[in-house]
Subunit: 213 residues, 3 copies
Amino acid sequence: MTFTTLIDYIGTFAFAISGIRMAAAKKFDWFGAYVVGLVTAVGGGTIRDLLLGVTPFWMLQPSYLIVTGFALLVVIVFGKQLIKMNTTMFLFDAIGLGLFTVVGFEKSLAAGFPIWVNIIMGTLTGAAGGILRDTLINEVPLIFRKDVYATACILGGFIFYICQKIGIGNAMCEILSASSVILIRIWAVRKSASLPLMKDDTAEEDEAMKGRS
Amino acid sequence: MTFTTLIDYIGTFAFAISGIRMAAAKKFDWFGAYVVGLVTAVGGGTIRDLLLGVTPFWMLQPSYLIVTGFALLVVIVFGKQLIKMNTTMFLFDAIGLGLFTVVGFEKSLAAGFPIWVNIIMGTLTGAAGGILRDTLINEVPLIFRKDVYATACILGGFIFYICQKIGIGNAMCEILSASSVILIRIWAVRKSASLPLMKDDTAEEDEAMKGRS
Amino acid sequence: MTFTTLIDYIGTFAFAISGIRMAAAKKFDWFGAYVVGLVTAVGGGTIRDLLLGVTPFWMLQPSYLIVTGFALLVVIVFGKQLIKMNTTMFLFDAIGLGLFTVVGFEKSLAAGFPIWVNIIMGTLTGAAGGILRDTLINEVPLIFRKDVYATACILGGFIFYICQKIGIGNAMCEILSASSVILIRIWAVRKSASLPLMKDDTAEEDEAMKGRS
């Protein structure tokens, strides 16, 4: 197992844990929790692969399903203790976010798409699983309302692009890009940084956009 | 019309009825009810086909749209009487679930995917339409919270695999697998069987996974 | 820039504005508002392209992302004044709906699909973005409950088909079909026309379809 594979599993595990715990808060059964965990972990990459027109990555080897099953087991067995490990889980999540962003960026690049598609694919890989998760548990997606999350992926994508432009080797581009995502994420949570909110007064859409659907 | 086609239509009809009735409970208009019925009936197979990278099955012949239209007509005209037919509709639904599972399993198998992908594709074909339906009507998916539903599909997939391994002919594998799904489903509803629920105390995700999206 | 391109941008702009304003009503941040605007504008065409098995149109040129960014800027800067422009925005939206319907219809036709698939693809292109938008902001899709919206797309598709059958030139078919969608839409809003609603008494699905998911 390479270092990248290890990080990939750590990220998958952290994402799955996040989905499973939210499913638990909604009193889902084991199957429902597993599905929400899996969708959180592989949902972003699946949307990316469908958009790129390739077979979704988790259909090519069973490890993502197994890691998610392991995450379910951990939540069922160690439920309460997990709360004490929130900092660890947050770090795992941030590391996963950094890696997923790079993986998505490079997969799109290899498929011949331009830089702005690569950035979107990196961001989707990192952040779309959480949006799907929130839709499945019938909540408004968290990342639309608070925090710097997807924005870290977007910035990480830019950094990858700049690194390539100035001729840094690919491995170093990956490390710098992923690290940026992780550091931005940690910085944002420490500082409780978030993007500006939209103002409500601009919207009275029900009458305003009469019938617009 | 072969026997399989007949069962296919019966399943489509039952799935569509389920979606249309839930749309009616939300006071959707005829168009909304039709869409929800159609998504319930063909949504699972559509996700399967997109993941497998083939043209969605309902784009190749119009019968699924027609059966859904017929289901809408039945609900509009016979609305109240339908409640008395709940056992019949439940049986139709179970039969559809069994067939859809087998169809999804075999389509994935024919596309060259391994057993665990086949099981997932069978389960998606049977159960994902209901998840899409609940997302569209803005409810938490039922099958995540109660009942044995998708689990019946998973077990049916295993039985298909075992039948093949021990060298039973394909037609018999199909019958045994579909029957298992149907019987597990009937047994589960009779016994009010359901999977264990997740415990809520493991999740305080809002603070816990601070900012995790 | 051709006339069609101009109309395409106007429609994209109007659709994006509608999504961004609804996101503002939910107090999303700038990123969330941008995503909801983008999904409203390109979501329908993306579902169409995935179903047709081609690369989503917005991945081939960045203009849709730029127009959506411009729409975000407009809402942020001119928020309150936009309310006074509701009639204009409604017209832009209707024009976009007409064009999107024709674009979807023709793309499906060019891919070799039959008339009923073409009509569905035209309707998806026009109306599915709004459904995705409502799902993302955790609301029941508006077009399922009131108004004549998707129905205008369906009728516009039929008119395109009839025009072709009676041998009218392609450009004229496009104009007649798009105009029909726009006029039906304007007529429906003026007359507060809407489709019949489903009756609630047909549905007691929770007990009725016991366990149906």
